[in-house]
């Protein structure tokens, strides 16, 4: 009985648990990537313990793959060695860790996945308790197959209404982050529900859950349904059971009717600083970026491609498109979407974290401004600390790329 978070922990532990309890619990999978795995390997070595179960480990190279620097190459070298020595079969170089972890079937309702990345909260889109931790915590799970958790309290977002034209899940989550604030959900789970969420695609749900951490959330949870089932059908072999809240007690309930929502932009250097697009329209932008675990999926690329088709970006601007995974890249290629971007003057990169992490595939110069579909606009994140980052939906990024300046997507034909 309880919130989705309480339901998951109760089921896992085999007795009812409530928010506030500290528990030690088995984890289904342990996710890490090229930036955080090396420290986890070091911590494991210091513990002097073997890996509890190598099949629980899911490792990705995505934050700087292929390595653009010697230091990065050294880290990849260490991870390769660790993977081979320990016979880790879940090793991927196919795109952003969260997208690939979901696609490859490690995420399902009722599961618990810990990840050495703050956006591990993404997995809640499929009713799985995904939560971000640091590398030493991950090493604890490597060695024990478990971890310790404080069962979190929950903020419920009750969402209803229909999105107006060219308003999307991204605009909604920016609105929610600005409403709650960057630390407003710290130590708490964010539960997204209501008739709007029921109607949302898995991809849109992922966009919501992904940014739960931008308000401090420990997890971003959504109950599973027929759509979850359909999505997981050919991905997860294991038998899983649906998860939903049962007579839950929430810390807080926030209701939002999206029918009057407008396109939004988060402006530098905080995700919770959000303005209606009208207030920033016309701001000249140097670099446009479409991709990431937030908004780099097929539906995001399609929305942007429809807007940009047959148009060209100004010659002194750049537009980088990075599909979130190989699966998405291949589907987009088949549908001719990537050609639309290339014809418009964009560069299409290999799937991975790309510009979002400021380490490869193009960084910002001092004084430059970027408009991106990613989830963070912290100072220095995309390169120079003297650059500025704006966050928006894929539609806003696409129409703005055509004009070289922030543009209201409702103006696009």
């Amino acid at each position: 009985m309880g919130t989705i978070a309480e339901e998951i922990f109760s089921r896992k532990i085999g007795r009812p648990v409530e928010a506030g309890e500290m528990v030690v619990c088995d984890v289904d999978y342990i996710m890490s990537h090229d930036s955080t795995t090396p420290l986890a390997i070091e911590a494991l070595n210091k513990m002097g313990k073997p890996i509890f179960d190598p099949n629980k480990l899911v490792i990705h190279l995505d934050h700087f793959y292929p390595a653009p620097t010697i230091n990065g190459a050294i880290l990849h070298q260490r991870i390769n060695k660790f993977v081979v020595e320990n016979q880790i079969k879940n090793f991927f170089k196919q795109g952003v860790c969260h997208q690939v972890t979901i696609e490859k079937g490690f995420v399902y309702p009722g599961g618990i996945v810990v990840g050495a990345d703050s956006h591990t909260c993404t997995y809640g889109a499929l009713g799985c308790f995904g939560t971000g931790m640091g590398s030493t915590d991950i090493a604890v799970s490597y060695a024990t197959g478990k971890n310790w958790f404080l069962v979190p309290k929950t903020i419920r977002f009750e969402l209803y209404g229909s999105f107006p034209k060219r308003v999307y899940a991204k605009d909604l989550i920016l609105h929610l982050v600005s409403k709650v604030g960057a630390g407003g959900a710290t130590y708490m789970a964010c539960e997204f529900g209501g008739e709007l969420v029921d109607r949302m695609s898995i991809s849109e749900r992922i966009t919501l859950a992904n940014m739960a951490v931008e308000m401090g959330g420990k997890a971003g949870l959504i109950k599973s349904d027929k759509k979850t089932e359909e999505f997981l059908k050919d991905r997860v072999k294991l038998k899983w059971e649906h998860i939903a809240p049962k007579n839950p007690k929430y810390e807080k309930v926030i209701e939002v009717d999206v029918s009057k929502l407008t396109p939004l932009v988060a402006y530098p250097h905080r995700v919770d600083q959000v303005k209606p697009i009208e207030e920033v329209e016309g701001t000249p932008i140097d670099c446009f970026f479409l991709g990431t675990c937030t908004n780099g999926r097929l539906d995001d690329l399609k929305i942007a491609a429809e807007i940009i088709k047959g148009k060209k970006i100004p010659p002194d601007r750049r537009f980088v498109v990075t599909p979130a995974s190989n699966e998405i890249l291949e589907a987009a290629e088949r549908e001719g979407i990537l050609k639309i971007f290339r014809d418009a003057g964009a560069v299409v990169c290999n799937p991975g974290c790309s510009l979002c992490i400021g380490r490869h595939q193009g960084v910002l110069a001092p004084g430059e401004k970027a408009l991106t579909s990613m989830n963070r606009n912290f100072i220095g994140r995309m390169g120079s600390p003297e650059a500025e980052i704006y966050l928006a939906s894929p539609a806003t990024v696409a129409i703005s790329a055509v004009n070289g300046a922030i543009t209201d997507p409702r103006r696009a034909k």
Binding site: G115, G134, T144, R376, G380
Partner: protein, 164 residues
Amino acid sequence: MARIWKFGDDVNTDEIIPGRFNVTTDPKELAAHCFFEVRPEFSKEAKEGDIIIAGKNFGMGSSREHAPISIKAAGIKAVIASSFARIFFRNGINIGLPLYIIEGIENEVEDGETVELNLDKGLLFLTEKKKEFKLPSFPPFVEKIIKAGGVVELLKRYELDELI
């Protein structure tokens, strides 16, 4: 004499250690770029035993453990803040960087003021103002990790289930 490095609310991990510098696991190299952009003097002037005092939600953002490692390797003895972001708090405790929550502490101190921190007695003493603060105690589980000097040391001796 140890000094206070004062920070405001919502200091994020990109500010503590920018992404482009954490392509390494070397604590010294991480310390050399700690607060590289927001407090360029920090990595040069911070001395062993100095402390950081901050406002709300210290360490928000990414899960990078490079952030508390860089702070610890810069010589910082403890971070005291009004509140911490969740992952940063776990990471700090796990690697043996003491983190204390004292609500409103940032309003009581100035940047650069001298300080004595006695972790054994659980006391923070502002030497110029002659003002003393009691450090809060941790839940027993967290206390065990801190006393052991981090979770790695603890797990050398105990099983995880024994600790709760």
